[in-house]
C-alpha cells in the first residue's frame, strides 16, 4: 500500500486496476505510428516530389511579372527639331458586368469623356468582359476619372503619336495607327528602327503593392531609336506654303514639290497638296493621302529635253551652237504629226532648250540609236523605283528600246510616252547640278556626303547644259518668272497634256525643275502642278513662281552666298569697315 500511496491517485480506481487486453495499447501505438508515417510521407511528397506546384503558388502570392513599356523613337529634322513624338495617353475601359453605375455617375462619366449618356449606357450594356469607352484621352482626364472610383471602370496606359508640324510634314512622315505602329511614310519605312521593344521583369510586391525586390529582369525594354531625317523643317515649310498658295491661285487639282541637296543627295523637303492633318485623321480621303511626289507618275513633258540635249552633245554630233531648223513648227513622222506650241525658225541647240521646241528635241532624238537613248533613261533612274525604302514608291513607265517606233522615240525626247515620278525627275537633274554624275538619294541625314556617284554624262556636257538651263529663266526663255534676285538659277519648264482614257485631253500638268546657284549648284527644286484651271497652264507661269519662292527661300535659309549681282548692288566690304575703325583691327 505504501507504494500505492506514493503513486497517483487514479490507481485507486478498482476498474483501472484490471489489466488491459494486450492488443489495445499495441493497436493505438500502431495507429499513431501509421498516422505519423502518413504525415511524414505527405510532407515528403509535398517537399520533394510535388514542390514545383506549391512554390509556384507561393510565388504567385508575392511575385508579379511586370511589363516594362518602351517608347517609340522620335523623328527629328536635320537640325534636331522634333517632327513626331510619342506621348503617353490613357484609354478608359470597363468591365460591363462590374460597372453598376447610378444614373448620376453615368452622367458624370459621360460628361468627363465628352460622350453622350446614351452612348455610354449602350457600351456598358453589351455582353462582353471588356469594352473600351474611349481611347487615347489625356492623362489628366484619366486621373480625374480614376479619382471618382467608379466600379468596373479602369484605365490603361497607351502611347499616342503627335506631329507638331501637322499638315506641313504629313506626307513625308506618314502616321501610326492606334497601336503606335507605323502605317504610312517614314513611320512605316523606318518602323524597325523607331519601334521600341517592351521588356518585362519579375518583382516581389509587399502587402501594399509596392515593389520591394527585383527578382529578375526577363527582358530589358528597348526604346525605339531616334531617326534624324534629311528634311529641313524650314525649307519644308517654305515648300508647303508656296505649293498651297499656287494650288489656290491656279485652282489646281493637286501638286508636289521636292527639294534635294545636290551635294549629298539628301531630300530636304517633300510637299504635296492636297494634304491632311496627321493629328486628326477623322475625315481622311484617299486623295489627301496620296504622296504624289513619290507614288504617282506623270508624263514629264519638256523637263525631259535637257537630257536629250545632253545626249546629243555627248555623242559629239551636236554642240550648243549647232543649228537645227525647227520651221515651220510642224513635223510628220510616219503617220503622226508633232508640233511646237509656238512655231520657231532655225534654232541652236541651246535655243531649243531655252524656247522649249519639241521639233528641235525630236530632230536631235532621231539621230540616236534607241538602245543608247534607253540606256541614258535607265542610267538616269527612269523606269525603276528609287529604292528609298519609302512605301508605295513607283518606277514609272519606260518601255524596252526594241519596241520603240520612231514617233515614240521623238515624243520621248520631249517627255511624252514616258512616265516618271516627281522625285525621279528631281533625282535625274543631279547630272546637271553635279558634274554629270548622280549619287543615291537619302531620306535620313547623312554625316558625310557620298564619295562618288555614277557618271552619266561628262562634266563638260553637264556644264554646257547648265548654261542652257540658265538661259531658260533669262529674257527670251520660257520661265522668266523663275528668276531669283541675287542668284544665278537655271531650270526647265514642262507643260504636258494629260492622258485621259488613252487620249490627250485639254488638261495639263505644269512643272518646273531647276538648280541653283549655277556657279556651284547646291539645290535642286522640282515643282509639279496638276490640272491648273486658273487661266494659265504653262509650266513657266504656274510652276515657275513656286520654284522661285522655294529656291530663293531655301538658298537664303542655308546661307548660300549670292552669285549674281543684286540691283542696286550694295556690298559692305570688310576693308571699308576696318579702315573706318582705324588700327584697332
Amino acid at each position: 500500500m505504501t507504494k500505492a500511496k506514493k503513486g497517483v491517485t487514479f490507481n485507486h480506481n478498482p476498474l483501472l486496476r484490471s489489466e488491459l487486453p494486450a492488443w489495445r495499447p499495441r493497436f493505438v501505438l500502431l495507429c499513431l505510428l501509421g498516422g505519423s508515417l502518413a504525415l511524414i510521407g505527405r510532407a515528403a511528397y509535398l517537399q520533394g516530389v510535388n514542390d514545383q506546384f506549391l512554390q509556384a503558388k507561393g510565388e504567385s502570392r508575392y511575385a508579379r511579372l511586370l511589363g516594362v513599356p518602351a517608347t517609340r523613337g522620335k523623328i527629328t529634322d536635320r537640325q534636331g527639331d522634333v517632327l513626331a513624338v510619342s506621348s503617353p495617353v490613357k484609354s478608359i475601359w470597363a468591365i460591363p458586368e462590374d460597372a453598376r453605375l447610378s444614373p448620376a455617375q453615368t452622367r458624370q462619366l459621360a460628361g468627363l469623356l465628352e460622350m453622350d449618356v446614351n452612348e455610354v449606357n449602350q457600351k456598358l450594356a453589351v455582353d462582353k468582359e471588356f469594352v473600351y469607352l474611349k481611347r487615347q484621352v489625356s492623362p489628366e482626364l484619366a486621373d480625374h476619372i480614376a479619382a471618382l472610383k467608379l466600379p468596373g471602370i479602369h484605365d490603361q496606359r497607351e502611347y499616342r503619336r503627335f506631329y507638331p508640324g501637322g499638315e506641313v510634314t504629313a506626307h513625308m512622315l506618314g502616321f501610326t495607327g492606334v497601336d503606335d505602329k507605323g502605317q504610312e511614310g517614314i513611320e512605316l519605312a523606318y518602323e524597325s528602327a523607331l519601334a521600341g521593344k517592351p521588356g518585362s521583369r519579375r518583382v516581389v510586391k509587399d502587402r501594399r503593392g509596392n515593389v520591394v525586390e527585383d527578382v529578375q529582369s526577363i527582358r530589358p525594354p528597348q526604346d525605339g531609336k531616334e531617326v534624324a531625317l534629311a528634311l529641313d523643317n524650314k525649307i519644308q515649310y517654305l515648300a508647303h506654303a508656296a505649293l498651297k498658295q499656287a494650288i489656290t491661285d491656279n485652282k489646281a487639282k493637286a501638286g508636289g514639290v521636292v527639294v534635294l541637296d545636290a551635294k549629298t543627295g539628301e531630300i530636304l523637303a517633300l510637299a504635296n497638296a492636297p494634304t491632311f492633318n496627321p493629328n486628326n485623321r477623322v475625315h481622311l480621303t484617299g486623295d489627301q493621302l496620296r504622296n504624289r511626289a513619290l507614288t504617282d507618275t506623270y508624263e514629264p513633258g519638256s523637263t525631259m529635253k535637257p537630257f536629250t540635249a545632253a545626249l546629243a552633245l555627248e555623242n559629239g554630233k551636236f554642240t550648243s551652237n549647232t543649228i537645227i531648223n525647227c520651221a515651220p513648227g510642224r513635223m510628220t513622222i510616219g503617220t503622226a504629226t508633232i508640233s511646237d506650241a509656238h512655231p520657231h525658225g532655225a534654232l541652236t541647240v541651246a535655243q531649243v532648250i531655252q524656247k522649249s521646241s519639241n521639233i528641235g528635241a525630236a530632230k536631235m532624238a532621231l539621230t540616236f540609236q534607241p538602245e543608247v537613248m534607253w540606256k541614258m533613261f535607265d542610267n538616269l533612274g527612269f523606269g525603276s523605283p528609287l529604292k528609298l525604302g519609302f512605301p508605295g514608291e513607283v518606277g514609272g513607265r519606260l518601255r524596252p528600246a526594241k519596241s520603240w517606233r520612231p514617233i515614240e522615240q521623238a515624243t520621248m525626247s520631249y517627255g511624252h510616252g514616258i512616265s516618271v515620278s516627281l522625285m525621279q525627275m528631281a533625282n535625274a537633274y543631279q547630272v546637271f547640278a553635279r558634274d554629270g554624275d548622280m549619287v543615291p538619294l537619302s531620306l535620313s541625314r547623312l554625316d558625310a556626303p557620298p564619295l562618288h556617284g555614277t557618271q552619266v554624262f561628262s562634266p563638260q556636257t553637264a556644264r554646257e547644259v547648265r548654261q542652257m538651263l540658265e538661259m531658260v529663266v533669262q529674257p527670251g526663255g520660257t520661265a522668266t518668272q523663275a528668276n531669283i534676285p541675287g542668284y544665278r538659277v537655271g531650270g526647265k519648264t514642262g507643260t504636258a497634256m494629260k492622258l485621259v482614257g488613252g487620249r490627250y485631253a485639254l488638261k495639263y500638268v505644269a512643272s518646273f525643275v531647276g538648280i541653283a546657284p549655277i556657279s556651284d549648284p547646291r539645290l535642286i527644286v522640282a515643282v509639279m502642278i496638276d490640272e491648273p484651271t486658273g487661266g494659265k497652264h504653262y509650266g513657266g507661269d504656274v510652276a515657275g513662281p513656286v520654284f522661285a519662292q522655294v529656291m530663293g527661300g531655301a538658298l537664303r535659309t542655308l546661307g548660300v552666298p549670292a552669285d549674281a549681282p543684286l540691283k542696286p548692288l550694295q556690298v559692305a566690304r570688310q576693308g571699308a569697315t576696318s579702315a573706318a575703325s582705324g588700327e584697332s583691327m
Binding site: T71, K74, D81, V82, L83, V85, S86, S87, P88, F162, P164, G165, G166, V168, D206, N210, V211, V212, E213, D214, N233, K234, Y237, L238, A241, P485, G486, A562, L566, K567, P568, L569, Q570, V571, A572, R573, Q574, G575
Partner: protein, 88 residues
Amino acid sequence: MARLNGFLLMLVVASSLGVVASQHQARKLYAAVEREQQRSSQLEVEWGQLQLEQSTWAAHARIEKLAREKLAMRPPQSGQIIAIEERP
C-alpha cells in the same frame, strides 16, 4: 561547453537580427531606386511633351503669321539687301 553554446547562440541571434535589418535596409533602398526610376521616366515623358510644345509654338506657319500680322514684317526688297563680303 554550455558557455560556448550560449555564446554561439548569441552570435546566431545577432547575425539573424543583422540579416533582418539589412534586408529591410535593402528593400528601402530598392524602393527609393524604384521611385527615382519612375521619376526619370516621368521626366522623360515631360521632356517629350515640352519638345512637342516648343515645336508647336515655334511652328514656322505660326511665326510667319505673327511676323506678318502682329509685327507687320515683310521680306526685304532686292534693293534693300546689303550683302557682306567675307575676306578670305
